[in-house]
Symmetry: C2
Subunit: 326 residues, 2 copies
């Protein structure tokens, strides 16, 4: 059990450190502080089985040479956007990845050997949507238009992201990450043939290369919003586990996914925010859904910042208590 965005603003100790250290990016690039943030939820909730690296999926575009800023209340900005600039105009800065490896090393040193440390990166499609638009974008229209209109130019962007992401994940594993997750946060807007080309294919290549280098490494793929295409994703990418967002019916997923394939998810963050009976029944539904396959309990996407800490405590009791009874 762990929770996406478990190191974040719902925790008072995180908010305090943020206040002391400055911007989000300052925190990510201060490896002592980032290690501290990564460990905060593990210290508060001993029931959590894994820490996830405190970082951001846009570190890869930053290393690829786009400038990265987080505008308060508006989200990230990448300049120049690749809808305007050419890929060739960017200068890579691999050194921008080094502090992240340092964070991983520091966390792994301090983390109990019984807990896993999960590294991560954005999947190439999702990272490309930000690189092309220069920011979050409604239905990822800019990237999808480029992918239809100039598939070769778009493929070049995806391949560049893929190459750096492979190096980046290898660096995290070499620094001590026990597993990695590929966040494909915007896979939900793609038509099926585009999904095959820009989600499944790059993920399959990445997972294959990671497996060649680290045969035992668990690679969790999280194709958020993939809906009915999750089964194809699971079969064709070769990931070790599939993350299910909160809109996926867990009973359907158990029937549809390859038998024995581990799954992760998929509590609605709003059920956790609400607490009480809606939380209990949502947890029960998920716990009951996977009788015969490994299941990593998690949310369907990141914890909401106004989630009461007491509800997370209640959740750990519901999930871990259930295991004792079961």
């Amino acid at each position: 059990m762990w929770l996406m965005r478990q190191a974040g603003r719902y925790l008072p100790e995180y908010r305090q450190l943020r206040e002391e250290k400055g911007s989000f990016l300052d925190l990510v690039y201060d490896s002592d502080a980032a290690a501290e943030v990564t460990l905060q939820p593990i210290e508060r909730f001993p029931e959590f089985d894994a820490a996830i690296l405190f970082s951001d999926i846009l570190i890869v575009p930053f290393a690829l040479g786009q400038n990265l800023t987080f505008v308060a209340g508006e989200g990230p900005r990448l300049t120049p956007p690749l809808a305007v600039a050419k890929l060739e105009q960017l200068t890579e800065y691999p050194a921008r990845l080094e502090p992240i490896y340092e964070t991983v090393r520091k966390v792994r040193e301090r983390l109990s050997s019984e807990k896993a440390l999960i590294g991560f990166a954005g999947a190439p499609w999702t990272v490309a949507t930000y690189m092309v638009a220069g920011q979050g974008s409604r239905e990822q229209a800019e990237a999808r238009r480029l992918a239809y209109g100039d598939p070769q130019a778009f493929a070049a962007i995806v391949e560049r992201i893929e190459a750096v992401t492979f190096d980046y994940l290898c660096g995290q594993v070499e620094a001590g990450a026990d597993a990695v997750q590929l966040f494909d946060s915007w896979s939900g807007s793609l038509a099926p043939s585009e999904f095959e080309r820009w989600v499944i294919a790059p993920t399959a290549r990445l997972a294959g290369k990671l497996r060649s280098r680290f045969p035992e490494l668990p690679v969790i793929g999280f194709p958020k919003g993939a809906g009915g295409k999750i089964a194809a994703y699971a079969r064709e990418t070769g990931v070790s586990a599939v993350g299910l967002d909160e809109t996926v019916d867990s009973v359907w997923a158990d029937r549809e996914l390859p038998s024995g394939l581990p799954v992760q998810g998929n509590l609605d963050p709003l059920a956790l925010l609400t607490g009480g009976e809606p939380l209990q029944s949502a947890v029960r539904r998920i716990l009951d859904a996977f009788p015969a396959r490994p299941h990593i309990f998690n949310l369907g996407h990141g914890i909401l910042q106004d989630t009461p800490v007491a509800h997370v405590e209640e959740l750990t009791r519901l999930v871990k208590g259930a295991q004792w009874i079961g």
Copy 2:
């Protein structure tokens, strides 16, 4: 074959009429102009088999007593939002539905008997998301929070919408609509148990009541974004046909949906905008996917306003030409 939002801004004759007549809402409430707009795509594209009423899903909240405005560049506003006001504070104005019936009558008079006239309404969940937030909302968070936090209050809203929607659709059918479509544009953000409660159950009740009143009436349900939950929607709502958005793999849908159930969809509007080879291969994939069930060719959601008219012409040739060859 027809296209969602086929009467709209991609058509020069629509843009001209809009300029003459004023706001979107002025056009909707001018039944002569609305009838004209409804008929424009049929006159331009004789291959289309159906006209869809030119109107808006927010006519129902307007009839329920919220004030409705369309702010240019910002989308619709409903006041007061039900996140703040109570349902009981609203005064119903059923007369606000009458001009829409008048439009239906005028279209049906002028439309060839070989063409179908499709009426429509928003499905209760989707209409509720606007009524609660007072506008379009990111991931429908306001409505989802209310549904978790105060399910009784939310159920009262949904039931009120359901009742007026039933009257509204009956009025459209009595005025001459040959089929109706329920647009559940925001069903994609719901967790499975919430989807059952707020999408499947109200749709099933509405479809059942419509069938009792009009046994032969085709009711098309369009649960946009429902992903893997489409099969449950198809089985449990009793709709006559299911609309598939562009993210649904048509091959998967054909395998997953009840045999013989008609489907509608699901071309990516961006493929139509792009034209050329991406359009051809996307159309081919869809045409090949449903060998043994009725299929209404359509987009996966509304046509984009910068779609070239020539691409729509190309599409009609691809779809209707294929039927001649097939």
